[in-house]
Symmetry: C2
Subunit: 201 residues, 2 copies
């Protein structure tokens, strides 16, 4: 029976116990030749693609519904909140980012589509982290009467998918925030770029 | 004399030496009641606003130039590359995010403007980090003949600002990537949302 996830304790994590992430002490010589140190977090899971993760901006087109995208809601322990994000996931050791995009979109939402573009390798938070990613755009063409597909989640994965008309995305994210959910910065920026194009140009 | 920054070594950072970031071992009880552990990185610098950082999407309006934004280029040791980002920075201990937005925009670009919107608190990479931020939109109205203002950088800060017409932003980011620079994921998403609105809807 699903119940609300709950944090029971937060402790300092000794470096030699960490399995998924690690801390780097980066010694570097700056633009004046001065020796300096920078601290960064890093994922230990990066595979041979060199890309940690992918996210997917989906466009669902349907004969008589407005163009829509899919966002997912899932609890994220680091911020102790249900987060609102694009479908996303880590790239497996031997996968390409494009393959990971198709797989993750299917697992988290049930949908399959065509990857119509793939961003360059972009960096998630380069002031504190080595993490990088690629953003795939996937087009899904539905026909009249197509049923909503089943998600393909692992046991113990609790991910809610929501299909949102693109026209309503920005307001929907504001609404989720008011409900106490936390919107992912990348999804927010995408929605704000879209909103900006419609309202400020 | 500015010279190319260079990494001299990358070592494991023991938790008790870290000054800026820390590792958390989060014990939590999942949706089935099972006890689980999540590893996260966290900034140690969060002040009383509860928000780690701000970024600023600027809109420069001018009587006879196209609407433009400002991006900054700076070397980031965690990814050993010059990164292309919105102006951004940490919120000081006693500052509000809005105040930090005005200050950071001025320091990094020289421009001052009016904050016309401020995003909710959004989360930068919630699968691995507690980091959060707000995105401010700042409007700068220029008059014919206004000079480009001076940046107000600290000694040892090397930040290049670039004013880019919004119509050219997406292609410009692709060009920077081809030159070996690394585009920040949030800036990329904003530009892709804008591009999407113009090309896919």
């Amino acid at each position: 029976m699903p119940q609300a996830p709950k944090i029971t304790s937060v402790d300092a994590l000794p470096a030699d116990e960490a399995k998924w992430i690690e801390f780097q002490k980066i010694s570097w010589s700056d633009q004046t030749g001065k020796s300096r140190v920078w601290e960064a977090a890093s994922r230990k899971t990066r595979g041979k693609s060199g890309v940690d993760a992918v996210a997917i901006s989906t466009v669902i087109r349907h004969p008589n519904r407005p163009p829509s995208t899919i966002i997912i809601l899932q609890y994220r322990p680091p911020v102790d909140a249900v987060c609102v994000e694009f479908p996303a996931g880590l790239v497996d050791e031997k996968e390409t980012p494009k393959e990971a995009s198709i797989r993750e979109l299917h697992e988290e939402t049930g949908y399959r589509g065509e990857v119509t573009s793939l961003s360059p390798t972009i960096v998630s938070d380069p002031g504190m982290s080595t993490a990088n990613m690629q953003l795939a755009t996937v087009e899904v063409q539905l026909k009249e009467g197509d049923q909503e597909p089943e998600q393909a989640l692992d046991d113990g994965e609790f991910i809610e998918r929501v299909v949102v008309p693109l026209e309503e995305l920005y307001e929907r994210l504001i609404q989720y925030d008011k409900e106490g959910k936390r919107v992912d910065a990348r999804l927010w920026h995408w929605a704000e770029g879209l909103h900006f194009a419609k309202t400020m140009l």
